[in-house]
């Protein structure tokens, strides 16, 4: 991928990611309402929410929060830029965890019970899904021979064909990453648990808006990685990828609406089991194929 292409796709990402992210959230709100047999808000509700947050007064509990949240947003966007410029997927995940660290530190700095609990649980969640995300990057490497997104999209056959287990494992982790039931442990969009708002408890007004914006960029990135499994040289594959991402997101919402919440113990053990069996198993097979191919 040459530099112009990279710059153009970064620009598109910067502008389009919030729009796409908001669209997915609107889809979430509408579909969830239908699943619960109610009318629900309009498709544009997330846009209204975000705009409102930016119009509100900012309230802080200390003088570090703003800087840390800003760090989270900057590094999240930067992570996305690496991805959309065709960079290294492994580096994308590393940068993602750096960005997440800023958010967790912002929560820690508040010194409130709910923020603190949310931060601990966020660590727990990161610990639960990180092996799988790393295996996802490794899966792409095994299939395409390169960690670079720019090489992955130039394959003859999409990665899903040879890495279906890793794809499923990654989708399982998307539940955690999108903070959906049964795993919405660190923060919830619905206040119905002992965590209240967890990680974001003490972010208020436009600072919270900033955090939400960062989350939008992050979720677009994660969805794009899910879509990357379907992309190959053929231009039609991009359409397939978009459809696939929408379907994946639908299943995430379905899970959100039909599963009860579980304790963190179940989350950790189930995610690690899924990682080990689906991710590890698929990786083992890929390695054996590679050895056999030599």
């Amino acid at each position: 991928m040459n530099i112009t292409m990279a710059l153009v796709s970064i620009l598109i990402y910067l502008v389009a990611a919030p729009v796409v992210g908001l669209a997915f959230e609107g889809y979430d709100r509408v579909v969830s309402a239908r699943m619960q047999n109610r009318k629900g808000p309009s498709f544009f509700q997330p846009v209204y929410d975000l705009c409102k947050l930016f119009q509100k007064q900012s309230i802080v509990v200390n003088n570090m929060q703003t800087a840390l949240v800003l760090g989270f947003v900057i590094f999240t966007i930067f992570t996305g830029c690496i991805f959309f410029a065709g960079g290294d997927i492994l580096l994308v995940f590393f940068a993602h965890s750096l960005a997440d660290m800023f958010l967790i530190l912002a929560a820690y700095s508040a010194n409130s019970p709910y923020s603190s609990l949310g931060a601990q649980r966020e660590f727990m969640q990161t610990m639960a899904y990180e092996p799988m995300t790393l295996l996802t990057a490794i899966g792409f490497y095994m299939v395409c021979g390169s960690f670079n997104v720019s090489d992955v999209i130039n394959q003859d056959v999409p990665a899903i064909v040879r890495a279906p287990g890793i794809f499923l494992g990654f989708c399982f982790c998307l539940l955690i990453i999108f903070r959906k039931s049964p795993f919405d442990l660190a923060t919830s969009h619905h206040a119905h648990q002992e965590m209240v708002k967890g990680l974001t408890q003490d972010l208020a007004g436009n600072i919270y808006g900033l955090q939400e914006l960062g989350e939008l960029y992050a979720s677009v990135q994660m969805l794009a990685i899910a879509g990357l499994f379907f992309i190959c040289k053929n231009p039609i594959s991009y359409v397939v990828a978009v459809v696939a991402v929408i379907v994946v997101y639908f299943f995430v919402l379905l899970a959100d609406n039909i599963f009860p919440r579980v304790k963190w113990e179940v989350m950790l053990s189930s995610t690690w089991a899924v990682t080990f069996i689906l991710g590890g198993g698929n990786f083992l097979i890929l390695t054996m194929l590679k050895i056999a191919g030599k």
């Binding site: 509990v61 690496i82 010194n111 990180e130 490794i138 690690w272």
Partner: protein
């Protein structure tokens, strides 16, 4: 060459001089001056070695005249007997007879080799290449800094621990003696010489762990001793086999035989055994935890930055021999397993030094596994990990030690709100912690290279260990980092009682971490790749692509700009400040709440340690048994197969 001799004898002399000066102030001045001279000499030596010889043909090997070698051999023999006697006396005194047996078993066969002239003679005893230079940098600079730090630290230590007899001159002397031995160890190419220095470091470690002479310290020191002596026995077997069957006496010759040579697996397996005991890999990890009873400088120097590195240094030296044989499988399995298990165990620890100890074991596991792959890329990662870990970890140890002296506790829980109470220390620790696990910083880069190398060598188990281990590593470091960043309003600042000299040392190390992070591509290509190309006999290409390096440097710059951004934000802010949310019953200062009967109660926010899941009680013994079984079985299979 002269400068090397100077370095060696000057450090030795420093040890003797320090042992003799009783007056504390004078000794402090002598130690500081001596350390600075030593560091300068060290740097001069490195520059000299790098510009002469090493840069041209990549390596310098010294074949001293036979008279010199002979004299040295006799001196070493005398010293070995002395060590044996010392260990025997102390063992008898404390009723630990088995140590005498182990020591005798390690010492006498090698003496017999020397006396009967069965050892391979006329071989280059010393070898200096880029790896040696790098080790010299680590040992000399980190070692010198820690010696300086120890001056102020010991002073405070004895103020806080009145029950411990003040033998700080011995402590300082042992540190210098240790540095001498370490210099010897990293320059030796002859196995017998290396073994001699190896045994010295074991003994010094034993003496330093027992420094306080409390019952716990004595028990722990003997545990460290017997495990290291066992490793020494392994080393001895390797030397005997090399000399009698393979007729080689130096590491270079051994490596030249190649991984497919007949019988090579025996010395490799036994040297690996020696290395994993020294590097505290499971099942021998417990001695390193016990070693944490020693005063902090020794933990920082011996048990994180240098001595435990001797084991992995040896592994890196012989890493070309691991390719595709049982020795390699044993080392990678043990290393990978230790990396994962120790990082799980670290989650359940709240004692700062114990977290550091487990983290050291865990990272050494990673280095061990990298060295065991036997591929240039993996060994590159091992060398980089070794370098970054030495600097970051010694900084962390020193910081924890300083915190303990200043606040009376080294518990991570008590570091709550450090950013408000003790901001300077919080920043120093932030650099140390970030250097251990976060994205654009050193360790992670090396870990990344390791991951690529594991995948390329088709090692599925190692990849699985690494992905799970790095997730757990993030957890225990992250929650520590979080504790530092709690903003605790209306809290008193700690009085900064940390000595100026200690601060300077910590600042130096902090600066080194930052410099290493910025310069790592250069270090990789200038120092590490040539030596690997040579020992593996093939050219080693770039490990991390230029694009990625550029991205990471960008991240580094951005992180560097974060404090500036924060300062600007704080300056022009107009936000309203409220109390943290505590269900509306916050009693006014974020630290107290009003209970259901109207009383004011303090709130306490603790990190998660998950004892039930990752506690020592739960997983320490199973992992020790598992790894012990693995080591035993693989050694038996490897040796049996070769015989």
């Amino acid at each position: 060459m002269l400068i090397l001799l100077f370095l060696f004898f000057f450090t030795l002399m420093m040890s003797v001089v320090t042992a003799m000066i009783r007056e504390e102030k004078l000794r402090g001045a002598v130690v500081i001056t001596g350390s600075i001279v030593m560091m300068i000499a060290d740097i001069v030596f490195c520059v000299w070695a790098f510009t002469h010889g090493v840069s041209q043909n990549g390596v310098m090997r010294f074949l001293p005249e036979s008279a010199v070698t002979e004299t040295c051999t006799y001196v070493f023999m005398a010293a070995e007997v002395f060590l044996f006697l010392l260990i025997s006396v102390l063992s008898v005194k404390h009723g630990k007879w088995y140590c005498i047996l182990l020591s005798a078993f390690g010492t006498f066969p090698v003496l017999w080799l020397d006396v009967t002239h069965k050892a391979v003679e006329n071989l280059p005893m010393l070898k200096i290449d880029d790896l040696t230079i790098m080790m010299f940098m680590v040992v000399g600079i980190v070692g010198g800094l820690i010696s300086i730090y120890a001056v102020g630290y010991l002073h405070d230590y004895h103020i806080h621990h009145k029950d411990v007899e003040n033998r700080s001159q011995h402590f300082q002397a042992l540190l210098f003696l240790f540095l001498t031995a370490m210099y010897g160890l990293i320059t030796s190419d002859a196995l017998s010489w290396m073994f001699f220095f190896w045994e010295i470091t074991s003994t010094i470690s034993f003496l330093l762990i027992g420094y306080t002479r409390k019952p716990e310290a004595v028990t722990n020191s003997f545990r460290a001793l017997w495990m290291n002596l066992l490793g020494g026995c392994g080393f001895m077997v390797a030397i005997m086999y090399c000399a009698l069957c393979l007729h080689v006496g130096s590491i270079t010759e051994l490596v030249e035989l190649g991984p497919k040579a007949e019988g090579i697996v025996i010395p490799v397996v036994f040297l690996s055994l020696a290395a994993i005991t020294k590097s505290a890999q499971m099942p021998f990890s417990r001695w390193l935890l016990g070693a944490m009873v020693a005063p902090t400088p020794s933990s920082a120097l011996l048990h994180s930055a240098t001595m435990v590195k001797a084991g992995v240094y040896l592994l890196i030296r012989i890493s070309p021999l691991f390719e595709g044989n049982l020795g390699g499988i044993m080392i990678t399995t043990i290393g990978g397993f230790t990396f994962f298990a120790a990082s799980l165990l670290a989650i359940s620890q709240s004692d700062g030094k114990k977290v550091l100890a487990y983290s050291t074991i865990s990272n050494l596991g990673l280095i061990t596994a990298c060295a065991g792959v036997g591929q240039p890329a993996a060994t590159w990662a091992a060398v980089m990990l070794l370098l970054f870990h030495a600097v970051s970890k010694s900084l962390m140890f020193l910081a924890v030690g300083a915190v303990e002296n200043a606040t009376g506790s080294r518990d991570v829980e008590d570091m709550h709100g450090m950013i408000v109470k003790f901001p300077k220390m919080a920043y120093v620790m932030t650099v140390g912690i970030c250097g251990m696990f976060l994205a654009p910083f050193g360790m992670l880069v090396a870990k990344w290279a390791a991951l690529k190398a594991y995948i390329d060598s088709n090692n599925v188990t190692l990849v699985i260990f690494l992905v799970f281990g790095s997730a757990t590593t993030m957890f225990y470091w992250g929650k520590w980092l979080g504790k530092l960043y709690v903003v605790l309003h209306q809290s008193e600042r700690h009085r900064d009682v940390v000595h100026k000299s200690e601060w300077r040392v910590m600042y130096c190390l902090t600066a080194m971490i930052v410099a290493l992070c910025t310069l790592f591509p250069m270090i990789g290509s200038v120092f590490v790749q040539p030596v690997l190309s040579q020992s593996f006999g093939k050219t080693v290409g770039t490990i991390i692509s230029e694009n990625d390096i550029r991205v990471m440097l960008m991240m580094l710059v951005m992180i560097g700009l974060m404090p500036v951004l924060a300062a600007l934000l704080i300056k022009n802010r107009k936000e309203k400040m409220t109390m943290a949310y505590m269900s509306g019953v916050n009693a006014g200062d974020d630290r107290h709440f009003i209970d259901s009967v109207g009383g004011i109660r303090p709130s306490y926010l603790s990190n998660w340690y998950m004892e039930d899941w990752f506690g020592e009680k739960k997983i320490l013994n199973p992992s020790l048994y598992l790894s012990a079984a693995a080591v035993t079985i693989m050694m038996i299979v490897a040796v049996g197969g070769a015989l």
